[in-house]
Symmetry: C2
Subunit: 431 residues, 2 copies
Amino acid sequence: MGTAGAEHSDLYAIRMAASYLRHGLTGTATFSLFLRGLPPERGFLVVAGLADCLSSLEGFRFTTEELAYLTAVAELRQSDVDALGELTFTGDVWAAPEGRLVFPPEPLVEVTAPLPQAQLVEMALLNLVTFQSAVATKAARCRIGAGGAQLVDFGARRTDGFDTALAIGRACAMTGFAGSSHVGAARRYGLPLVDTMVHSYVRAFGDEHEAFRAYATDFPEAPVFVVDTFDALGGVRTAVAVARELGLPPGRIAVRLTSGDRLGLARAARKILDEAGYVQARIMLSGGLDEYELARLSAAEAPVDSYGVGTKLGVSADAPSADTSYRLVEYDGRPVASGNALPGPKQVYRRASGDQDVLSRRDEPAPPGHRPVLTHVMRAGKRVRGKHSLDEARGRFERDLLWLPSSARRLRDPEPVGVRYSPGLTALAGA
Amino acid sequence: MGTAGAEHSDLYAIRMAASYLRHGLTGTATFSLFLRGLPPERGFLVVAGLADCLSSLEGFRFTTEELAYLTAVAELRQSDVDALGELTFTGDVWAAPEGRLVFPPEPLVEVTAPLPQAQLVEMALLNLVTFQSAVATKAARCRIGAGGAQLVDFGARRTDGFDTALAIGRACAMTGFAGSSHVGAARRYGLPLVDTMVHSYVRAFGDEHEAFRAYATDFPEAPVFVVDTFDALGGVRTAVAVARELGLPPGRIAVRLTSGDRLGLARAARKILDEAGYVQARIMLSGGLDEYELARLSAAEAPVDSYGVGTKLGVSADAPSADTSYRLVEYDGRPVASGNALPGPKQVYRRASGDQDVLSRRDEPAPPGHRPVLTHVMRAGKRVRGKHSLDEARGRFERDLLWLPSSARRLRDPEPVGVRYSPGLTALAGA
């Protein structure tokens, strides 16, 4: 997903770029990809997708095939096509690094480049940042809801396509999930692969005991028995019987519950396991989970060791997009106020102990005790060496999550961290 | 997105397949990918994603790299890895062709194949069908909401990745959208490319008249002026002035409104255009649209010629997934009832004039006057020659949309078409 043909653009962007080239509007522009707002049930946005953005910018060019198509349909002259064919991205990018938390109206990414280039990359940047940030935010909320229980990414089945499934796995890795069931995501992002089995296995054998025994014989290291094909608590007893039969240590086995009154079943399953001496056997729970249900189970002290979170995470069900916008804020040294976008290149300053960010002009110094959030990630079209790894993103996320005021962290009706404007920005916006 | 490594699977599916191979459970299985239910605001599901499914099944195999990873982490023996390395998909597939409407609990896809294969393709099928069908359904609802007005796909900006943007363009083409702003989607799916311009163009010039003149000079065939950078109705007057200045015929130009009281502004814009003699000039409207807002504007007889529909379509905002499930329904000649999945391979029969489908066993004849919905799309791992093109899918969609009872078509609290069980299925399910 990282690199792609420049045709992943709207026609208007290409025509506007061609028009800018014709009219000599090739001065330096700054566009701000910023967060216009948050839905009522979001107190923050986790930045994700930047690695893909940088790859896309580094690889930005039109292919011969794309140019032939544009020539045929886009009312372009040969000189336009020639100019577009030579175009690469040579600009600078400032961005909130992946894993950081941002609040409206802070920018996630700012692009400073010749106007035609800065316009052409709009769709790529919005596309790669918006959904990934929405899903990373949903994953972060699941972390909050789950308390200390482990979370496993089960999100790959009802997303769009394999690339999206991978992006979700990456967002889960960034936000501290303990593993993924998705082989492709686990391989790429170094997540522990988490196993289970599904009901069809039991049904294919036709007999639960026989199925459990076959599975545990084949994969004795850490079998996870799905126990509710017929009767959940009967399934727990079968799992214990098979573990005893095969001499599996209690710490190796787990049972998974997928439906019904899972809180009640988890408590009853825990009792059965404990009474059988399988105190260390783990309980996994899955099926339609989201942060709200995780919080309910956590508040009830459900005896659950790990949760498999799937569809509602993978589509960020209650807020499937994020309200991002890409706006021109400066052209040729002239600050531009575009609708609700504040003028000029910007910086976000944050205090370790503070509960209010400062949005300022990019060239203003940090207020005392504050540190910048936006970093210079691309210079003249080349990625700046730096901390772009997934591990580093995870570290930033964990630090920001600890810093986040509880009012912004709560799952229902949170209050995002406030953002005040610096004197310089206030003067510029009022001008 | 069509073909992909077999590692786009959950670990359990791979382990279960390996276990089946070890235990000789390689008999023929049928899995049904069916619609468990619909959210309250959905009366039907439009099937999409099948073309990608068939490509994925035809290309299904593990790469050497994937097998090396699985060997290292998945507790597999060399004999398992060898067997998986040789595995391809050799089964049969029955499916509701793309563009058709289905209702719970009808199947979208049924796979009949040796058990290990049928299990391994679960994630690929669920992934490729579920989201694409959800988005095609949202697009269809936008068609219904818009009445006869033209719709344009503006959905590429806040989806996940470029493949998803293309899938959305394809869903829009299937459901009768008039065009797309996305160059890549338009090129692949033969959609007319629809132009516009955005506010940053006006802001870069700094003067609306100058910007409009430059754009219309550069692209005189059908310029679409975004008129609300400063003042929407002032922008309409500027568009007329520029069209006059350049001698553009009224039928060539359009104005686009993006915010504010768009109904009132559209009416006022229409009046200005008409009074200026630009009766044929078109009005386009965009910004946060969905089927509900389209229906409101349509009911108010908004003088709008086309609507650009974006983010809420691209993520199917109010129902971002579909409740699909992939369940074993027959193994080795033995029907299997899996939770709420009815046993046995199935067929769906539909009448031209009917308002109730018949769900039957696959081998039952059609009830009088009924025709089958599921067709045999893959035989022994090879696609059956047939009507898989996007044009044919669009034709099927248009026919089914005309057939759809109004109670299932309405946007709020629709009633899905009822599904009764055939005598043969009733007997099997009761057995």
